[in-house]
């Protein structure tokens, strides 16, 4: 089976500084893949490289097509929705306007309206906050909004950058539960970057471990969980 997303030997640079040293990884159709690693290991950079947000070399294929070197907005138009680090909320717009923006590239009005209802179905709290300025939402609500906005693109692949960051455990649980059902109900593949390895390993079927810009270990999450070193350094038990 052809991988939905395939990175081969991807290097990425911040100015003269190389942040990724030839990463290769892949996401299967309908799968959830998590990228683990310490701060500065290159997790966020990997997502940015996929979206053409930084200078890269190597090959990035989405559904068999080379997307390397494309503009960020063109990548989004292919059906890759990026839920960025820090949520990227349009703070001065209302919740609903944020969601409408998610569907900016789509022309199928009726389906957009359906999707809007579906997002409100997943996150009823957003429906309550519909006309509120998004900047005034709580952190958890903004995270939900970010995921909802990504969903509005009707993506085939979602890139999620630390959705648990700075949120209370209860809310994190809730968000991860919804992510699973999005994956199952809507068939959206996911590439998840997480610090909270335990949670991520539970959700994902595949995991890649990054250290200073290199993949040091990969495999399906069940086997990975058994690994001694992973358990002590990332899972903490």
């Amino acid at each position: 089976m052809v991988a939905m997303l395939e990175l081969k030997n991807v290097e990425a640079f911040y100015g003269p500084i190389r942040a990724l040293h030839g990463i290769s990884l892949s996401v299967e159709q309908g799968g959830i893949v998590t990228v683990l690693g310490a701060n500065g290991a290159g997790k966020t950079t990997t997502l940015r490289a996929i979206c053409g947000m930084i200078k890269t070399t190597g090959s990035i294929k989405f559904e068999g097509r080379e997307i390397f070197g494309k503009l960020t907005e063109s990548v989004a138009r292919l059906g890759i929705a990026h839920v960025p680090e820090g949520r990227g909320t349009f703070e001065k717009l209302t919740t609903e306007e944020n969601l409408r923006l998610g569907a900016f590239t789509r022309r199928d009005r009726n389906a957009v309206a359906e999707d809007m209802d579906r997002v409100y179905g997943y996150f009823p709290v957003l429906a309550e906050r519909r006309e509120q300025q998004a900047g005034t939402l709580s952190g958890g609500e903004q995270q939900m909004l970010a995921i909802g906005r990504a969903l509005m693109l009707r993506p085939r692949l979602m890139l999620l950058d630390e959705p648990s960051f700075g949120l209370a455990p209860m809310i994190v649980q809730e968000i991860f539960r919804i992510m699973r059902s999005i994956n199952e109900n809507d068939g959206v593949s996911m590439l998840l970057v997480e610090q909270n390895a335990a949670l991520a390993m539970d959700l994902a079927d595949q995991a890649f471990l990054l250290e200073t810009g290199e993949v040091v270990m990969s495999g399906d999450t069940k086997t990975m969980k058994e690994d001694e070193s992973i358990r002590t350094s990332y899972l903490g038990y």
Binding site: C51, M53, L71, T72, E73, A76, R77, A81, H82, P84, G88, T89, F90, E91, K92, L93, E97, R100, L101, G102, F104, T105, Q133, G135, T136, L137, S138, G139, R149, M152, L153, G166
Partner: protein
């Protein structure tokens, strides 16, 4: 009392001039947080285009809408061709480019059409309602058109996806890209809109001020002040700012002998600065309280 009424109405009519250009300023400010100092000269140049079209025999309204179209495309072209290379340069470099544009348009207009003032037709009837001496049909029409443009912009930003995308780019270009908004074209769209709104402003004020290359030079500062007073991100604020400024200036010039007509602008600016000291976001600008 009669002079008071006269000055207020005349102030509103003048305020419409400031408001219409302030609207154009707000268009570019929304997306780039910059005040385009060349906006007035661009509006003046558009008005010359309309004048040339009308002089070539085109009916008024055809020329009116064609000019808006030309200005829109022209504005976008300026962004794509001239502004784009300095998009990432320091703000002041952009300001210098704006100043460059200002002098280019001014000089070009003088060179092409000379500095002799031109009469520009009004689409509204001559005279005034009921023959009153306070406010004529044209001034009323000008105020009406300003409000129409405002309504159009309100609807556009509120309901059109492109309008929404423009606002999004203004706030968060990175996130905008992630949802597939072509940011570069949105900036160009902002310029196109600004040029189009400016063209309307120019064509509305020219019958009052008479068309010459310096027609909008003096208006720019007022429009700038009006936009800030209203809150630079709010089209409604810009319009209210414009009207307020027009009236304020007239009343100060009339009723405060020391200020007189010589310092009325300085006085009006002083008041605005005082307002901004108390309310830095302007009358209608929104202050956002973000939670982390």
């Amino acid at each position: 009392m009669e002079i008071f009424l006269q000055q207020v109405l005349s102030g509103l009519a003048t305020g419409a001039i400031y408001a219409s250009l302030a609207l154009a300023l707000v268009m570019i400010y929304q997306t780039t947080e910059l005040i385009n100092f060349a906006q007035g000269e661009m509006a003046m140049f558009s008005t010359y285009i309309a004048w040339a079209l009308i002089n070539a025999g085109m009916p008024y309204w055809a020329a009116f809408f064609l000019t808006i179209g030309i200005s829109f495309v022209g504005g976008m072209a300026i962004e794509r061709i001239i502004i784009r290379p300095v998009e990432k340069a320091p703000v002041l470099a952009l300001v210098i480019v704006f100043i460059g544009l200002l002098v280019i348009f001014n000089s070009l207009a003088g060179w092409l059409w000379t500095y002799t003032i031109k009469e520009f037709p009004s689409p509204f009837p001559v005279g005034s309602p009921g023959g009153n001496t306070y406010i004529g049909f044209h001034q009323l029409g000008m105020i009406g058109v300003t409000l129409l443009v405002l309504l159009f912009l309100y609807l556009f930003f509120r309901f059109a996806p492109l309008g929404l995308a423009l606002r999004a780019v203004a706030q968060n270009p990175v996130s905008s890209r992630l949802v597939g908004v072509r940011v570069g074209w949105m900036l160009a769209l902002g310029w196109g809109l600004a040029a189009a709104v400016g063209a309307v402003a120019g064509m509305m004020v020219a019958p009052r001020l008479f068309l010459d290359p310096n027609m909008m030079g003096g208006v720019l500062l007022y429009a700038f002040a009006a936009a800030l007073l209203g809150g630079t991100t709010s089209p409604l604020g810009a319009v209210i700012g414009g009207f307020t400024l027009g009236v304020l200036e007239n009343l100060a010039g009339t009723y405060i002998p020391f200020i007189g007509t010589e310092l009325k602008l300085a006085f009006a600016l002083g008041i605005i600065i005082l307002v901004l000291l108390v309310r830095p976001q302007g009358l209608l600008g929104k202050k956002i309280v973000a939670r982390v």
